[in-house]
């Protein structure tokens, strides 16, 4: 496996073998350990010393199902700390089949100079001028790139928000239908890509240099058994194909933990209009698609395609977190508007969560009424134009809070929370507070522990330990190149044995079951170390004050943990 090193200062591209120190990592493990090793922690995130790293997970480029996730890492312009966001679609598998483990983008092009990094089937890469694509939104960009370079290319790209270097800017990835609708959304990584002068990475699909598998027979046998395990699980095998992540709308509202109207209520009055069930029915009526395959080699099919009343494509996939940020938080109980806002985020290149919460903070401050659908869409267009007010919104909820003098901003380390109120699911509050990534549901979501009756969402017992173990698990899982939904099946002792066997068959290593957890700890320690060097302290591991002071209906409780208790989360 190779590394491609791209220097945007002098537009050079070099290829080197993957150094030994990174073997046994991949995805988030590789990006975070490399950033901690190579990026000056005090650097300007939008300056030449930051590095933007695209790293496939350990199983990308193999025949393993659901193995098309690529991690993107850098110092974040949003949080000021380390960042990893991973994205599905087609890029991860395509990069893996070129035997490329990582693309490391260093330096910074001259202001206004824009390039595309184009890979070929031999695993080589070149920078080409992208001046003609300047300012394009992602759907038009990808259509143009496919017309010019061929449709059998995966694309990772930024929209106008990334070119403007907005702190909510995402990096979008193309799905199997060639739509740039999959997002490495969090942390403003699109701004880092824009600052470097990189508009897109084009990766040919169909490479023949598959990632090496040392013990092919064992790998084949264990991966089939693992696939059967996933398909037999009622969550991955039945619920996700039917409803996708939107299946969470009903249970989270029914637990009183769905942050609504800028986190002033825990149950949204209109939730049944925007539930997974309502979404699936609407999609069916309009000849859209549930059980859609969005990512290469996917067997779970959690994606969907949402059409308008005339049966025309609007967006893919309308997911739980966006239904919340653009629906519950803003008071918009209309799926058509939510789907439109989802599309606009993908097209402009924005994190749906940070953007929805930013709109909600402004509505809460009286800028517009909660539930004002037209206003939400107008705000999106202001962001796309890069107007003064658009820049405020594009930089996320904390800047919006400052602009409108509203302290009620549900964010940690400047990154918005996700769709679980820390007062209604207190373990998620621990994860939001302490994650090295800023408030992030994929860093250690506790919702399944509550629905599975393992923990009470409102009682302190076991929450810190649960968050700790979840954060360790997710750090390791994000290194594998499989989506979290597949990885959630690695829960029983038998499944852990099976997964360890797969790692060893892939690498020729001697991992024991605990080595998965050990990798997670190694990653979190590297991330914590970087954040410390970057100037983040335990005072940054805090929820906003209103979560401690304002009781959340319907339970009318506040976040209950002391600072000492929060700080014990990373005791490992």
């Amino acid at each position: 496996m190779n590394f491609i090193r791209v220097n945007m200062n002098d537009k050079t591209v070099e290829i080197e073998g993957m150094p030994d120190e990174y073997i046994g990592t991949g995805g988030r493990g590789l990006t975070s350990i490399m950033i901690n090793n190579e990026v000056p922690a005090d650097c300007d995130p939008l300056g030449p010393d930051n590095k933007l790293i695209f790293s496939i997970g350990m199983f990308c480029g193999t025949s393993m199902f659901n193995s098309s996730r690529v991690s993107i890492g850098a110092k974040s312009p949003l949080t000021g700390g380390i960042k990893e966001a991973n994205v599905g679609g087609t890029a991860g598998a395509a990069i893996g089949r070129l035997a490329i483990a990582a693309i490391i983008v260093d330096g910074k092009a001259d202001e206004g100079d824009l390039s595309i990094l184009k890979l070929d089937l031999e695993g080589n890469a070149e920078l080409i001028d992208a001046g003609e694509y300047k300012g394009l939104r992602t759907y038009e960009l990808v259509e143009n790139l496919h017309a010019k370079f061929g449709e059998k290319n995966a694309v990772l790209c930024i929209g106008p928000a990334g070119e403007y270097k907005m702190k909510s800017a995402s990096i979008q990835g193309s799905d199997v239908d060639k739509h740039p609708c999959r997002a490495a959304g969090r942390g403003g990584l699109g701004a880092v890509m824009g600052a470097k002068g990189l508009k897109a990475v084009i990766i040919p699909q169909g490479g023949k240099k598959a990632a090496p598998v040392i013990d092919k027979d064992t790998f084949s046998e264990a991966s089939k058994a693992f696939a059967n395990l996933v398909k037999a699980n009622p969550f991955e095998g039945e619920l996700l194909p039917a409803f996708g992540t939107s299946a969470l709308v009903a249970p989270v509202n029914s637990m009183g933990a769905f942050p609504s109207y800028n986190a002033t209520k825990g149950e949204f009055e209109g939730w049944q209009k925007i539930s997974g069930e309502a979404l699936a029915n609407t999609i069916k009526e309009r000849n859209g698609q549930t059980g859609h395959v969005g990512c290469s080699q996917c067997i779970i099919r959690c994606s969907n395609v949402y059409n308008d009343k005339d049966g025309n494509y609007v967006s893919s996939a309308v997911e739980y977190e966006t239904i919340w940020s653009m629906g519950g938080m803003t008071g918009i109980d209309d799926l058509d508007t939510i789907a439109r806002l989802d599309f606009l985020c993908d097209d402009i290149g924005l994190d749906t969560m940070n953007t929805g919460v930013a709109i909600a903070v402004a509505m809460d401050a009286g800028y517009k009424e909660f539930g004002d659908k037209e206003a939400a869409i107008e705000i999106m267009e202001e962001i796309a134009k890069g107007s003064d007010i658009g820049k405020v919104f594009g930089n996320g909820p904390v800047e919006v809070g400052k602009h409108f003098n509203n302290a009620r901003v549900a964010a940690v380390k400047n990154q918005s929370i996700a769709a679980y109120d820390p007062r209604g699911m207190i373990g998620n509050g621990i994860t939001f507070a302490t994650s090295t990534m800023g408030a992030d549901h994929t860093s250690g979501n506790m919702v399944a522990l509550y629905l599975g009756q393992i923990l009470d969402p409102l009682k302190k017992d076991g929450q810190i330990e649960g968050s700790r173990e979840n954060q360790i698990f997710c750090a390791a899982a994000d290194s594998m190149g499989l989506c979290l939904f597949a990885m959630y099946s690695v829960a029983t002792p038998e499944a852990k044995e099976m997964f360890t066997k797969l790692v060893n068959a892939r690498l020729g290593s001697n991992w024991e079951v605990d080595d998965f957890r050990n990798l997670g700890i190694r990653i979190l320690k590297a991330e914590k170390d970087f954040n410390k060097k970057a100037g983040l302290t335990k005072n940054d591991d805090r929820l906003p004050e209103f979560f401690y002071k304002e009781p959340l209906p319907p339970h009318n409780v506040v976040f209950p943990f002391t600072e000492e208790e929060i700080d014990s989360t990373y005791n490992f």
Binding site: L239, T245, S254, M255, L484, F485
Partner: protein, 79 residues
């Protein structure tokens, strides 16, 4: 006693006789629990069911009462 139930997710597809957006009223023995409700509905534990009432998740041994409005889901991971 009578309770009103609402099924969500795949449960509504698997048990169409109990599936209605407005909920379905059913009759249970007076000392019923959340677990007893699941037995009545023939929802096995392997489906990962979760039961809520009044914005709280119920344990399987928790009682249900006459007139309760109960929602039944399947366990879901976030991602």
């Amino acid at each position: 006693m009578k309770v009103k139930i609402q099924l969500f997710g795949v449960l509504g597809l698997k048990l169409p006789e109990f599936a209605s957006p407005e909920g379905v009223e059913i009759e249970l023995p007076d000392d019923s629990t959340a677990g007893g409700l699941l037995e009545y509905l023939k929802i096995p534990e392997t489906w990962g069911p979760a039961v809520s009432m009044d914005s709280r998740l119920l344990k399987y041994e928790d009682p249900v009462r006459d007139g309760d409005e109960i929602r039944v889901f399947q366990a879901v991971h976030g991602g």
